[in-house]
């Protein structure tokens, strides 16, 4: 078991090196970013302490794949397997607990660990046999996969849009529109295996164009119900709706380009940071979009000659 955790430590070290940075630089950057993000939650969100506990639990549940868990289960005794799963989850939530301690939320610290323990007992389903239908089957892409993983979020978002109409809250309507783009951007967090790029009989520029058209078309399909509601009930503010639609598309395209700009580099964290920065200050996209486009073309040229 000790060797297992030693290996995990080595893996983290190696992922920093793959990222192109030394661990002694990477660790402080992660700590600072974590502190900034946590602080911004406590500064801007109502009931932040409870939401923070919820985020930590979701983090413990979501991070780590079921294949990895299956591997441990196969090769370790059932007692050691349980210990590893619990230890892993405790370690994952520890940064959250430390921040809560710093904020003197002692009860929440206990809650974070207790929930992490219960999450360890939960069985994660890895293979769902039920095929969720999607309207994107003609051009299977990130949207097919992403939609199947996040379809329940759309129920919530469309629900919000319905409440926005019922309560006459335009801002909530816009928020639901923007939420769709956040969800869709997450579809571009995982790099494609080389094979799935190589199969395309097109050059890099055409490939990106093809991908961008799909992203715009399919995101439009998902936002269409909200756009319809907002334009019918808030026609006088249609210019604001359109502004957020265009910003959403730019944001989505930037994420798409970033995916191919950093193909094979596993930069989920980097994507997250750039995404937050562009959200706080959208004009940055004037620089980031062309930069990622050029970098993506250079990367894709290696596979799409």
């Amino acid at each position: 078991m000790r060797y297992y955790f030693l290996l995990q430590y080595k893996r983290i070290h190696r992922s920093f090196k793959d990222f192109g940075t030394e661990p002694f630089i990477g660790y402080p950057i992660i700590v600072v970013l974590f502190y900034l993000m946590s602080s911004s939650i406590f500064e801007n969100v109502l009931y932040a302490n409870y939401i923070y506990v919820l985020i930590s639990t979701l983090f413990a549940y979501a991070v780590g794949n079921s294949e990895h868990a299956r591997f441990i289960k196969q090769h370790f005794s059932i007692v050691n397997y349980r210990k590893i799963v619990v230890m892993n989850n405790m370690l994952k939530v520890t940064p959250f607990a430390i921040f809560l301690l710093y904020k003197t939320y002692y009860t929440e610290v206990f809650l974070v660990y207790a929930l992490a323990f219960f999450v360890s007992l939960a069985k994660k389903r890895s293979r769902v046999s039920l095929t969720i239908p999607t309207p994107f089957g003609k051009k299977p892409s990130e949207f097919v996969i992403g939609f199947r993983k996040t379809f329940w979020l759309f129920l919530l978002i469309y629900g919000l849009a319905a409440i926005a109409t019922y309560k006459g809250n335009f801002n909530l309507g816009v928020f639901s529109l923007v939420s769709i783009f956040f969800v869709c951007s997450s579809y571009y967090m995982k790099p494609d295996p080389d094979f799935y790029i190589w199969i395309h009989a097109m050059n890099s520029r055409d490939f990106l164009k093809h991908k961008i058209v799909i992203a715009i078309k399919y995101s439009f399909m998902l936002t269409a119900p909200i756009l319809f509601v907002l334009s019918v009930f808030y026609l006088d503010q249609i210019h604001i709706t359109l502004f957020f639609l265009i910003m959403g598309w730019l944001y989505l395209v930037m994420y798409l380009l970033m995916k191919y700009a950093f193909q094979n580099q596993g930069l989920e964290l980097f994507q997250g940071v750039v995404g937050v920065l562009c959200l706080l200050f959208p004009p940055i996209m004037v620089i980031t979009i062309p930069y990622f486009y050029t970098k993506a073309i250079n990367n894709l040229d290696l596979l799409l000659k």
């Binding site: 089957g137 097919v144 996969i145 009989a201």
Partner: protein, 226 residues
């Protein structure tokens, strides 16, 4: 015709392919054999353009990549994508329009299930169906028979015969010599990154014997099984 001239491949300082020179003509099936780690997959990935290398791979009909079907040893499937969607993706990638996927489902695969839930053999068959539907001129099949049931092996054999009749170029690898005897016209023995022997059908036996005479008994003795 595909012509490989002086192909060398390095991973940092480690040379994995050394001075490979081969020619593949339309209507021929070529087998590449060798121990695990001999460099077969790297050679296939180099020919397909998925790896950078020193040397040249020339194809007389133009851009090799856009007319090549590549079957990896261990096909990877994106999560939450059905068999039909995988086939659709491969056809879209080559601008091939298919109206009825079920009709072309020669292995009777459950196309509406997620591909990631398929067994090893089913995954291989799905990946093979995909490259066959792309209307390629060149086929690189890395261990096409691996993990596939006997009935499907027979279908694959017949598919290969048909591809030969259609004047396609087929390059495959396999560790099962009986399948190589049945399907291949030429065999190339890859050892430690070099082609040490290339023979026609009449001399396949010589490669088989050479591969078997590599001190298997001594190796097993070293394991000291108790």
């Amino acid at each position: 015709m595909i012509s490989i001239k002086s192909l060398h491949k390095y991973y940092v300082n480690n040379q994995v392919l050394k001075d490979i020179n081969l020619k593949f003509n339309p209507g021929e099936i070529h087998g590449v054999v060798g121990e695990n780690g001999a460099g077969k997959t790297t050679l296939f990935r180099s020919i397909s353009g998925m790896e950078n290398f020193k040397g040249t791979v020339e194809y007389t009909k133009g851009e090799i990549k856009n007319t090549m079907g590549f079957l990896p040893t261990d096909p990877y499937f994106l999560s939450k994508i059905t068999g039909k969607e995988y086939l659709q993706l491969l056809c879209n990638a080559r601008n091939v329009e298919v109206f009825d996927f079920e009709e072309k489902n020669i292995f009777d695969l459950p196309l509406h299930h997620y591909a990631e839930t398929y067994s090893t053999g089913m995954k291989k068959k799905l990946a093979l169906t995909g490259v066959l539907m792309q209307n390629n001129d060149i086929f690189i099949l890395d261990e096409p028979f691996n993990g596939v049931d006997i009935y499907s092996n027979t279908i694959i054999n017949q598919v290969l015969t048909k591809l030969k009749e259609l004047n396609k170029i087929v390059i495959l690898s396999s560790h099962i010599f009986s399948t190589l005897y049945e399907t291949c016209d030429y065999l190339h023995y890859l050892k430690n990154g070099s082609i040490v022997k290339s023979v026609d059908k009449l001399q396949f036996k010589s490669i088989e014997e050479e591969m078997q005479a590599s001190g298997i008994e001594v190796k097993i003795d070293k394991l000291d099984l108790k």
